[in-house]
Symmetry: C2
Subunit: 385 residues, 2 copies
């Protein structure tokens, strides 16, 4: 379902090779769903099952090899630009592809003796650790496992036009669901009902999946930006926050919208306006060469001081729901054209003797001309129905 | 969103402790979404983001501790029966919860010096391997990491009444989507459209998520039981296969249905009848004490010999889409009351000089009285519209 050209996969492979050469690695093995999609152009739907691992080997001095369960061969052969496949009859718990992968790795041209795996920050290895250990010990006499996460990060952090288009398609589907929200969010509707209806709207508008819908409501404000729905029903005077992650071709949209059911307290209107203005401040300074930490400072500088206790206020999006960089005071990543990041300021506000929370999120592409919003900008004033 | 009582979580913890004692383990650490749900009763929606790991520590001689990012505290405190929390301000890539987890582990009563982690078959560790290695090395002088997968397997393989009810709810939502299929599957409808509409139907019927929809169609038969949709549009004479994984409260349904658009070749009708009869043969012999391999033999014995090249023909379901046991000739697991498994025979058949594929899947609970179907049995004859 991806719309990425073979030439782009070949270019990714060559870029990976350049980084492998610089780091003295003979091959990379990727197993995570996002990395299978990124390098091979195919990840099986069956990835949701932990029974079978899927390996793609990217050698410095040989063509890529997919080492996969036999049952996935036909689909991957059709979808992937990779031409060499090695398969085993899975499930076979006593040797779930491990010896086959070792054979493929040991047959590769050897220059440095090191193989890269997804070991480092923000990576999850798509195989049991016991199998990974057995692979390393079996392979150990000749090969050493090293971290390929920096290579994955370096490649994936900047998006191509085709990737931006897929993120844009996911954003479009999510936007259609947000557009339907005022018609769905009536007094008496439960968060759970909204949660299901929101997903259905996004799917029917073209999302492949809607794996994330945070939804929270409450009188004059809500209390969480990340929780799932509760049985609570909407009432007059509520503020509703919905945040979604929807995908097209594996690429994620991540943004949220707020909606109030009149009458709305001034504190909620003010909170929304402050978040919107904080984003304006960030949009005004965001360009290549600025650091992620600088963007965080721009957001934080426009918010009440107490709000800046919130850790990060945005992050990269792409083949995972969140990925580098983090819009965080400690992240010194220098923004470059092609990065796609969210701006996600949040704050607490006082109301009726309690605290309420609000977040506002947009997605943008960093270009040489500055930020290009991929989301349709939320209105400056909190929408009320 | 789970409907599991606190007493059941406490009982799971006590059962885990008994197995930990037998295996001489001082504590287990779980990180996978399914295991967080199983032991703590809460996994964050944000689990889709790989930025932040989530740890639950289950000690032999102390109360459980959730070691989680601060932002997840309020939600987990509300949803989980666990009462002790340790948090860190994530993201913090230089120390993403590792030192905090080590502190918690080192403070536990120590009897054996071993800590169990999700290392073995069908497990995925929910943290970067580099962090796991750093944890083990930091903890190494005092503690040794051992495999807790056998404990997880032993507990999760038999389902409680509450778990069966959640699986049943997921099945009900998926069944509603299958019931809508004849109205959706018209000549000219694309697989992609059906794929989205099917998900939407299941959601609106009560599924929390529909993470898996395999869909394939073709003249007189289809060619894959696991692929995603293609742009292909349905035509007269097609056979359509749809297989889904839908969840409620984290628990999965997994079954499929076949549908033909008249006229249907006799070979497709025969294939469906054979699969249905193979399931009848398995249902007739399936009871506690029978091995998973015996069920496979019952299915295989009722199918043309060539079909038995298919590896497994069913598997457990629960908090993951597939889990032990495998209905596979090599799986000697003895079935017990409380196990929930699928019966998923498949076969190839010849048509117009080519090969077609068909699969038929039902979900059942093993009881002392024999199998109890959780799915509404597919009709014996291939449905035609």
């Amino acid at each position: 379902m991806t719309a990425i050209a073979t030439a782009e996969y070949e270019a990714r492979f060559e870029q990976a090779r350049a980084l492998m050469r610089a780091r003295e690695i003979d091959a990379m093995v990727v197993t995570a769903e996002a990395n299978l999609l990124y390098f091979a152009g195919h990840a099986p739907q069956l990835y949701v099952s932990p029974t079978r691992p899927w390996f793609v080997v990217l050698p410095l001095a040989a063509e890529p090899v997919a080492v996969i369960p036999t049952m996935g061969l036909a689909d991957m052969r059709r979808d992937s630009w990779i031409e060499r496949f090695e398969t085993w009859a899975s499930p076979r718990p006593q040797d779930e592809g491990v010896s086959l992968l070792a054979t493929v790795l040991l047959a590769l041209p050897r220059r440095f003796g090191a193989i890269g795996f997804e070991l480092g920050a923000e990576q999850r290895l798509g195989m049991p650790i016991a199998d990974f250990t057995r692979l390393c010990e079996g392979v150990a006499p000749a090969l050493v496992a090293v971290d390929a996460a920096p290579i994955v990060r370096a490649l994936r952090i900047r998006k191509s036009a085709a990737e931006v288009a897929l993120i844009g398609a996911a954003i479009g589907a999510a936007q259609a669901a947000f557009d339907a929200l005022p018609g769905l969010a009536r007094v008496g509707t439960s968060e759970t009902t909204l949660y299901r209806a929101f997903q259905a709207e996004a799917l029917l508008a073209g999302a492949d999946r809607v794996p994330y819908v945070a939804i929270a409501s409450g009188p004059g404000g809500y209390d969480s930006g990340v929780r799932g729905p509760m049985q609570r029903c909407l009432d007059v005077g509520d503020v509703l926050g919905v945040d979604t992650g929807a995908t097209v071709g594996g690429y994620w949209a991540d943004f949220n919208r707020n909606l109030a059911l009149a009458p709305v307290p001034a504190a909620a209107r003010t909170a929304h306006a402050r978040l919107w203005q904080a984003q304006e401040a960030a949009l005004a300074m965001l360009r290549p060469g600025v650091r992620a930490a600088d963007v965080w400072q721009a957001l934080a500088g426009a918010l009440p001081a107490a709000s800046t206790s919130i850790g990060r206020m945005g992050h990269g999006i792409g083949l995972t729901y969140t990925e580098p960089p983090s819009i965080h005071p400690d992240d010194t990543t220098v923004l470059e054209a092609g990065m796609v990041v969210t701006l996600e300021p949040s704050l607490d506000y006082a109301l009726d003797g309690g605290r309420r929370f609000m977040v506002l999120e947009e997605d943008l592409l960093v270009t040489t001309d500055g930020p290009r919003l991929l989301t349709r900008r939320a209105p400056g004033e909190l929408p009320v129905i």
